[in-house]
Amino acid sequence: MESIGVLMACPMSSYLERELDKRFKLFRFWNFPQKSEFLNEHADSIRAVVGNAFAGADAELIDSLPKLEIVSSFSVGLDKIDLNKCKEKGIRVTNTPDVLTEDVADLAIGLMLAVLRRICECDRYVRKGLWKTSGDFKLTSKFSGKSVGIIGLGRIGLAIAKRAEAFDCPISYYTRSEKPNTNYKYYPSVAELASNCQILVVACPLTPETHHIVNREVMEALGPKGVLINIGRGPHVDEKELVSALLEGRLGGAGLDVFENEPGVPEQLFGLENVVLLPHVGSGTKETRKAMADLVLGNLEAHFLKKPLLTPVV
């Protein structure tokens, strides 16, 4: 398989890079500043694209790779892949579900605790010597027992619910249609969900329908004591509105792992103590990234050996 060209869309995992290098002819897209020159020269040998949450395979790229057979995403989210185009052209698509569910859910709860209990702020307080000079830190907000509203009740949403329940948090959710087998309270709109919970967490896929699903109305419904947690995709939240809601105190706090324009983060957030800002690390543990990489490799090998794909989407 060493002659099969695989295009890696951006840096994502040195382990995955090494393994792809060993087994295929790997092209690192970010090493070629002149994309059109690169494509002119190598497009015909590229039969696979490996993408992730930052960069995948949009219509333009797909059209410029006439021999493309499979897009294997190093993520569970598929928003960076033009799925319709792939379906049209018979291109297979795989992702990495299940292996990252726990890590993302763990981080969602970690963000809730970090925001409500000001864990990062407390650490800074100690390191700056303020405990000695300014005395005790202030009262924070209890997490146990607070109501948690989840947008999306798929694998990740359910895993978040399970963890929050261990803290006696009442769980409610919004999905396009009510789920039959849960005891959690359903709300038919995100605004209603936000009005009825204290912590709102985004855990649904990013599609044209869910773009800016957390808008100004939702943030105001969540309110000055409410906390927004985003472990989905940046564009789920109207970021401009979020910044002004936080600066003006109309929203109580936010824990954000994703942003509309990564790695750009609105600088006005840097001085706020009621936010926690993470560089898209939801699945970023050694254990899980290896599992994800193995899934990408396994899917590619299965495809080129004409075996059934491990985690196909298309």
Binding site: C10, P11, M12, S13, F54, E102, D103, D106, L107, I109, G110, L111, L113, A114, R117, I119, C120, C122, D123, R124, Y125, V126, R127, W131, K132, G135, D136, F137, L139, T140, S141, K142, F143, S144, G145, K162, R163, E165, A166, F167, D168, E262, P263, G264, V265, E267, F270, V276, L277, L278, P279, H280, V281, G284, T285, K286, E287, T288, R289
Partner: protein
């Protein structure tokens, strides 16, 4: 309770300036006549001999050292209500000898403390505070892939102490897929494996969470041997009392990479924190706030007030410290 206009309010001497009095002082004053030494120009001892000789009730913080010489200054004292759950600041046998009842904060802080223990553990393993600092310092655009952290699920967590706090930590961490075992003075009717010895527990686990009381037996319970047994991937979380860990040996082990990280809310000599820890990014530091939320303080006020009321009405204390 007593009508303020018609009757003398019962006297309570307040010591250690429980700072939550700043929030609830007014409410307390509606039902009790608070003697507040810090508002007097008299030095403390003189204030006590002048004003507190007939006082029956005391409200004190976890920092007030209640020992025989202290107690001898209050000949009429019958009850001490302390805002702390921990009792390492009190000579309970002397109180017992003098017939002084003691009430503490009971278990009202347990949830918040357990939440903080879990929050610190996730933070250390997933590098939350470190990554937040990375973003705030504008470093993300230059280093698009942040260094990988460690998964929480599957960790073998050893709880040192399985009382009210330990049980709540266990329940929470189980939901993350952690495997729980514990060490305690006595085996408990719980499904988790029991180890009578902390060193053994540390050998079998890769996370230790300290949830026990500080006593003569638990002082420096966690030492270099225990930390080495925990191992190079090991994380230690302390939300109990600083002196349970030999702090110097903990610092050494962290500096030498003998354990992987720590989340610490308490220290041997608060508010002093060992300098060496301030430059480590595999530790998360907290200024003894695990118990401290708006909600727990409201609960604390109600409990403290309720205990004092019970005493003055000759009813059983709400959160008496029981003989062990």
């Amino acid at each position: 309770m007593a009508e303020p206009n018609n009757k003398e309010l019962p006297e309570v001497i307040v010591l250690g300036i429980p700072w939550f009095l700043k929030f609830y002082g007014q409410q307390f004053s509606q039902n009790f006549k608070l003697l507040k030494p810090w508002e007097s120009s008299l030095p403390l001892e003189q204030f006590i001999t002048t004003h507190a000789q007939s006082v029956k009730a005391m409200l004190c913080s976890g920092g007030t050292r209640v020992n025989p010489s202290f107690l001898s200054q209050f000949p009429s004292l019958r009850v001490i209500v302390t805002t702390s759950a921990g009792l390492n600041h009190m000579d309970l046998s002397e109180c017992r000898r003098l017939g002084i009842s003691v009430a503490n904060a009971g278990t009202i802080f347990s949830e918040d403390v357990a939440d903080c223990a879990v929050g610190l553990l996730i933070d250390v393993l997933r590098k939350i505070t470190a990554a937040d600092g990375f973003v705030r310092n504008g470093l993300w655009p230059m280093n698009v892939v942040y260094p990988l952290s460690s998964k929480v699920g599957g960790r073998k967590v050893g709880l040192v102490g399985l009382g009210s706090i330990g049980l709540k930590v266990a329940k929470r961490l189980e939901a993350f897929g952690c495997i729980i075992s514990y060490q305690s003075r006595k085996k408990k009717p719980v499904p988790y494996p029991f180890y009578p010895d902390v060193h053994q527990l540390a050998t079998k686990c890769d996370v230790l969470v300290i949830c026990c009381a500080l006593t003569d037996q638990t002082r420096h319970l966690i030492n270099k041997e225990v930390l080495l047994a925990l191992g190079k991937e090991g994380i230690i979380i302390n939300i109990a009392r600083g002196p349970i860990i030999n702090e110097m040996e903990l610092v050494q082990c962290l500096m030498q990479g003998e354990i992987a990280g720590a989340g610490l809310d308490v220290f041997e000599n608060e508010p002093n924190v060992p300098e060496e820890l301030l430059s480590l990014d595999n530790v998360v530091l907290s200024p003894h706030v695990a118990y401290l939320t708006e909600e727990s303080f409201q609960d604390l006020y109600e409990l403290m007030s309720g205990n004092l009321e019970a005493f003055f009405f000759n009813k059983p204390l709400l959160s008496p410290v029981l003989d062990d």
